[in-house]
Subunit: 290 residues, 4 copies
């Protein structure tokens, strides 16, 4: 997790596919042949006897930018064609461009902006988009563009089109930081970049709306939050991170919301940070987090 | 929580009912009139503006055993008749008699027996009943009676009758310590004492069977356990205690089971301990835990 | 913890002194005689057999403001003179006035200001004072006065005098939100209101400077933070709240600082919130937190 | 963590030394040349720019037992002689032989024995040695030899000699499971295998004796436990694992001991489990835990 300051000439290689003998050695060989030095390596297999294989390798290679293409070609030849593996090759110094969608509740948004300003999040915030105008002044104090795109039942398709016009080509990640609208499957398809949502419950408990009220009614002793990739199935996307906090009968629903808000912003910022460091690999309905 | 050694002449008074002004003062007055000294007092209201009221008072009264009846009469007159409140009056030195139902998995059972022997649990274990004979030797090494009552689809009613014959009049609490059979509503009615179950998930997530496999499939980042009172609605009873432990993609279902087992035994032992200290008050579908 | 919205005509009574029979009943009686209704009551004794006694009672009394004096007189007569107890009587609607001292690191300061703005902290922030000018703009965006009082070895006494001129009579609490200067015993005496500090370690481990580096060197697996009342003995004051977060060999000292920063702001905001709700009672070198 | 069931023909290779380019690739190459398949690989560097390097590789190699020597020779040639690295090569199916030292307090001992019996700990318990006879019956019920070696001021050297006679050549690890005697530096030197101790506090807070009483006096809000390798400097050895649990003013010293006991046995069992899986690598005064 100390990579941010050492990003010059650092690359990240994510490899995934069907597990088989020799993948680690093959990856090492290609990198070594090109003069790269492995800085860190995480690897996992869903089942030692032939499951899915995942590897994240951070390496250092002088003049990486100009040598990226030839390295990519070698990887394609040795990993892609010969071993049938997928891979992504990323320059660590190139920060991901992120858009944030928000409604009126500000704690997750502000926490992301504040951490980004402190240098804790390796990302560029390209814009904040909201269906309400309330948070515009706050956002612009961070010198970040704010766009107000009202959404209601009648104009939903038009609003999504307007959002897509803002986003397309401009961002590598969309974060829903307590955005109280459902985004459509068409929107996700059209957007074509990952979308991370923060859900204010410990999924799969209390899926859907009003989780804190339902937690109070059910008398649970812990409330939590879940950051997950957004898929067409609401609240069913692959989970990136979760956490909980203890509550008791003494606390009202509003108290649960407040305690939960602290968990939400921690969980969301961790998930965004890990995603921006290419630590999260989707594996069907779950994730591998290195 | 330091009461166990100071139980001689100590009493516990649990009061519950509709909230109204003056309850705390009324309880204090009755106790003071009888010469009792309040050692500790916990009180809670579901809503400051007229909800349900709960109070647990621990008091010291010399020669409590012989003066219990007259105190009870005063409480009935002042709290019951005049204020419409329910109350329970308990001598702290009288430990609850507990039966434990278990199947083949031993970690929750052994943890309870071992804590009881160390003096950590203020209870007497009257018997252990199992639908399998496997754990008999283990239990009898603790000098506790073990009864094997086989249960299958055909004999379920007869088996429950045999269980009731063993339990009725002999126990104040039944603990299901990973007992893999559903107990019927008739059994609960007939038994007439509280029943605590340990469920191997963070309810209401993963209700029903196979929670660790489902947790693995869903990719959750925490697994947990829930101790709750048993009602006719499976896994829906009032929750007493819950806790969780962090897991990752590296762990198999069996690893989740092992980590979860540590949470299960901690959560169950806390719930049983609190119940035996009269700290848990049922409030509809939830609980107040003082 | 739901009191903030119900503060009109609500009072808090803190009672402390040598434990003896009948205190709870006496407190209840005085309140009842004056027409007050007890909303919640917490009580604790350092030793059931004659230790120190602490009680926090929240009550509702119509027209509390005009009746506070006569209630106070009765309490003085019955609790103070007759039972030798100390007490404080507080109107819940009167928020504490708080000054915050800060140096250059902003996370604890911003978290307090942001929570206060959201209505999570029942306090008024009267001013922020810093030995550096850096955070002035940030603070003033919250419409809170910011004063820059430089401190160095030569001018320390003069600087403290200037600080006291700003604070005296204007605040009920001083919070050191990562203020990197030691405040003198004379300053504390002269100030005459409680001072809360956040220390960036799990005290008593790593007292003094540079705790994260020392935590890294020692190879601890958890780092933490401690909020405590400030006394003349550095890092020795009564602890209000602590928490920790898990770390590993993978993390650098800077990573520990970042993770620790999240714990610091949570721990400090809890401590300040509890203090402002009169939930924290000092008991020699420790605290009782209701 | 799913290795235990797949141990046939599985090996573990631990490599450590000065970091330099190409280590991962070299290790992969040697393993691949010998026909081994890498099952999992963890790697860490204390500093990306030339610190200490650590790698744990689990691999599968048919007929490992008969091919261990030739693999070891290749590793010595390529890693040892050429790169100046240290390495250990371990057959996973060969469980470590463990001795446990204990005094009178039984919770850590019983937890280890019980987990070992359940198959949770990949070790063989060769013997239990105590300076008191109390726990002999308990231990022998697990079919494990128990030896009583009394220790007092006068006979300490003789007692250590007797202990060494029991241990030497028979064990790969010694666990101090609440053994209330200090072991001498001579004993450690003579024994020549790692020794793990459980300390009943969150080190470095409350080093030495009586930590729970001191935690109570200091008013900390969390108590904890620390498992560490034993060195001549008491309570200063490299930490393997730590954890904490929340406490409050309500709890007596005895309550802290009970809560702490739950943490102690969890922390110790994790540390022993990780050590037996060769997951813990000492790095000066700290550890790397894969």
């Amino acid at each position: 997790m100390t990579e941010q300051n050492h990003n010059q000439d650092c690359g990240r290689l994510i490899v995934r596919g069907e597990d088989r003998p020799g993948i680690v050695a093959n990856v090492s060989d290609v990198l070594t042949e090109h003069g790269a030095n492995i800085v860190s390596l995480d690897q996992s297999s869903s089942d030692p006897a032939g499951g899915r294989f995942f590897q994240r390798t951070v390496f250092h290679l002088p003049e990486l930018s100009v040598r990226l293409d030839e390295l990519s070609e070698s990887l394609e030849a040795k990993l892609g064609e010969r071993l049938g593996l997928e891979f992504q090759l990323v320059e660590a110094k190139r920060q991901k461009r992120v858009a944030i969608f928000v409604s009126r509740v500000d704690h997750c948004l502000l926490d992301l902006l504040w951490r980004q300003r402190r240098g804790e999040l390796p990302m560029t915030v390209s814009m904040v988009v909201s269906n309400h105008p309330d948070l515009g002044d706050e956002v612009r104090q961070f010198d970040i563009p704010f766009f107000h795109v009202p959404v209601d039942k009648e104009n939903k398709a038009a609003a999504e089109k307007e959002q897509l016009n803002l986003l397309k080509g401009n961002v590598d990640l969309l974060v829903l930081a307590r955005y109280m609208q459902i985004v459509s499957g068409d929107f996700l398809d059209e957007l074509g970049v990952p979308v991370i949502n923060i859900h204010h419950s410990f999924l799969p408990a209390f899926m859907g709306a009003g989780p804190y009220q339902r937690a109070k009614d059910r008398g649970v002793k812990l409330v939590g939050a879940t950051a997950h990739y957004v898929t067409e199935d609401l609240d069913e996307g692959p989970i990136i991170e979760q956490d909980v906090i203890r509550v008791s009968h003494r606390e009202s629903v509003r108290d649960l919301q407040r305690k939960g808000a602290d968990v939400e912003r921690l969980v969301l910022s961790r998930a965004v940070s890990w995603h921006c460091d290419d630590r999260v690999i989707r594996d069907g309905s779950t994730t591998v987090v290195f």
